[in-house]
């Protein structure tokens, strides 16, 4: 079967075939022959040459989480329809990453900012989070004042790219 995994805006094309006790996996012009068993739901023990890989996989609604050797990866199975392009959402970084309190507004309306400039400081549970300009531009709107409560995902300031 053919599977496409999407991870961090990159798509990996994989072929897997099961023949008797072996799985043959083809990826990036290499073929891997492994033996594998699911020792309990989601827990795999995979024999790859003389290596034993242990992995834990769990499924979310659309995504899969794979734990392998201390690292966790978040992937999606995708259908490839033509050329898939994943677009990067630039605007997102102007949204608050967390619910908290605005402790500082560093810019004024009309102010020109450079990429990376701190626009707003938000505090939640003892930690401060900085909202930085994703690109050069001019501030067009400031949605929150100091000491305002801000919720996760709300837009902190709006700016026009220059």
């Amino acid at each position: 079967m053919f599977i496409n995994y999407e991870h961090e805006n990159h798509v990996y094309n994989v072929t897997v075939e099961r023949r008797e006790k072996y799985f043959f996996i083809t990826y990036d012009n290499s073929e891997y022959r492994v033996e594998a068993e699911e020792i309990k739901p989601g827990h795999l023990k995979i024999k790859l040459g003389d290596r034993i890989l242990k992995s834990v996989i769990t499924e979310g609604e659309k995504e899969k989480y794979v734990f392998v050797e201390g690292d966790v990866f978040y992937v999606k199975n995708v259908e490839l329809t033509g050329t898939k392009k994943t677009k990067k959402k630039e605007e997102e970084s102007l949204n608050s990453p967390i619910s908290g309190k605005v402790v500082k507004v560093e810019v004024k309306i009309g102010e020109k900012v450079k990429k990376g400039d701190v626009l707003m400081v938000i505090e939640a549970m003892k930690m401060e989070y900085l909202i930085r300009a994703p690109n050069n531009g001019k501030i067009t709107k400031i949605n929150f004042n100091e000491n305002d409560q801000i919720e996760i995902g709300q837009t902190t300031v709006e700016m026009k790219k220059s």
């Binding site: 995994y5 961090e8 099961r18 996996i25 795999l44 392998v68």
Partner: protein, 500 residues
């Protein structure tokens, strides 16, 4: 003896304290906000009280509501845990006023130690070394600048009411002194409503080493040796250990005595921590005293065999300290790592979501103090700490290997955690050598991003095997094998478990 304890906290520390209560036959009461209805601390408590709104100020910080709950349910004591109300003298006083035992030091000690300038003055008077500095009344810029020049450079300007690095400035030379003082004052005014600052000598190669103390209500005070807490990110400890790799017997004795003297100077009762800064030449200076059970208390428990949470309860119940200083010894080495729901590759932003799978590592001398379970939602309302993993071993080298082993088997799926970052820090050559300072993370991991940005082949193999095993529409491929007459060849597509 206490009979029923309300724990005014959540997460792992509430669980930790309730377990100690249960071992001792004390009944437990949990309080919770509506998002924590199914949290572990609520599940293990004998009784629980809904505090409603998840905003801390309306729930876990709501003094009248918590006191009223304790009275209504008949609790004779309240344990504040750490954070939230643990170091709030008004809360301790409110408990006292209604005849409920506050499990911690007396309110006046909490308020004295909460004022960093007053705390330093008290300790200086008691003969405990403090960092040379100025914490006087004169707060105008010229006077402060004059005092700053007397202390010399590098110099640290700190907010008196501060914490977490706010209002802090390091001044390396005289020409930017006044400007830095002004900046610090402005920042602390906006953050704390108070622009009082103090100045102190900035230490080179500073380490954060603290001593655990226990004091009963009969005047006995002991220390339980040190914890090395230099590995910090933005002034938050992330890895703690005991003993400190830099400690020697002579220094330990001197610092331990100073810690006990510091506690005696204020008539300390219950568990507390005396924090010191230690410079490159092993001079030590009193920094502050924490009037609570610390997050990192397990490393002391694992190296001394003393159960600090239980002792807090015994002391609050009026029991005399039966352990004597000369009976205590450190054994082996212990390391704790704080596991946070945050993304190290993305500015350590908190990661919010549902925990799809949680499986802590198990093994000899591996302790997991956690407040999480599979299916739990991580909300933005509270501290993103998921768990503390603590291990102990014969010596530091083995302890490092063991905690790396345990971390790399700690399965937390659904949110991003700092586990890969912790492993990299622990495995760093300078960490292994014990060459650590409070600047360690800034020096070696400033703009760290995970090297595993792309999917490794191991993950691809695991995923494809999993999908192949779980695929319901997989074509049988055996007919491709050598036998051209195989019946499989003529079966076509079929599926397992299809409805008939």
């Amino acid at each position: 003896m206490l009979t029923k304890v309300l724990v005014a906290n959540r997460g792992e520390i509430a669980v930790r304290i309730m377990r100690a209560c249960q071992e001792m036959g004390i009944k437990t009461v949990a309080v919770y906000s509506e998002v924590d209805k199914e949290a572990p601390h609520v599940q293990i408590a004998d009784e629980s009280i809904d505090l409603g709104d998840p905003t801390p100020i309306a729930s876990y910080l709501n003094i009248p509501k918590i006191i009223e709950s304790a009275q209504k349910i008949g609790a004779d004591a309240i344990h504040p845990g750490y954070g939230f109300l643990a170091e709030n003298p008004d809360f301790a006083k409110s408990c006292e006023d209604v005849g409920i035992k506050f499990i911690g030091p007396k309110p006046k000690i909490i308020s004295l130690m909460g004022d960093k300038i007053a705390a330093k003055k008290t300790m200086n008077k008691a003969g405990i070394p403090v960092i040379p500095g100025y914490s006087g009344e004169k707060q105008d810029i010229p006077s402060l600048a004059k005092e700053g020049k007397k202390i010399g450079f590098p110099l640290l300007v700190k907010a008196a009411a501060g914490g977490g690095g706010k209002g802090m400035r390091i001044v390396h030379s005289e020409d930017i002194l006044e400007e830095s003082i002004e900046g610090s004052k402005r920042e602390s005014k906006s953050a704390f409503g108070d622009d009082t600052v103090f100045l102190e000598k900035y230490l080179e190669k500073p380490r954060h080493i603290e001593f655990q103390i226990l004091g009963d209500e009969h005047g006995n005070i002991i220390h339980l040796f040190e914890r090395e807490c230099s590995i910090q990110r933005r002034h938050q400890k992330i890895i703690e250990e005991s003993p400190s790799p830099v400690m020697n017997e002579k220094l330990r004795k001197k610092m331990g005595e100073a810690a006990v003297k510091a506690a005696e100077a204020v008539g300390y009762n219950n568990a507390g921590t005396v924090e010191f800064m230690v410079d490159g030449d092993l001079n030590f200076y009193f920094m502050e005293m924490n009037t609570r059970l610390q997050v990192e208390h397990p490393v002391t428990e694992l190296t001394t065999g003393i159960d600090l949470a239980k002792w807090q309860l015994k002391i609050a119940g009026g029991k005399e300290l039966s352990i004597k200083q000369n009976e205590l010894a450190q054994r082996g080495h212990a390391i704790e790592c704080r596991i946070y729901a945050e993304d190290p590759s993305n500015g350590f932003l908190p990661s919010i979501g549902t925990l799809k799978k949680v499986e802590p590592p198990r093994g000899p001398n591996v302790r997991d103090d956690s407040g999480i379970y599979t299916g739990m939602k991580i909300t933005p309302y509270y501290d993103p700490m998921l768990s503390k993993l603590i291990v102990n071993a014969e010596n530091r080298d083995e302890c490092i290997d063991k905690i790396i082993w345990a971390l790399s088997r700690y399965v937390i799926l659904g949110v991003t955690t700092n586990i890969p970052f912790l492993i990299k820090v622990l495995d760093h050559n300078e960490f292994r050598k014990g060459n650590i300072t409070t600047h360690f993370i800034d020096n070696y991991f400033k703009d760290w991003i995970s090297s595993k940005k792309s999917l490794p082949v191991e993950a691809i193999i695991a995923l494809s095997v999993y999908d192949s095993m779980h695929s319901r529409t997989e074509e049988i491929v055996r007919y491709k094998e050598s036998d051209p007459h195989s019946p499989w060849k003529h079966v076509g597509r079929w599926r397992m478990g299809a409805e008939v």
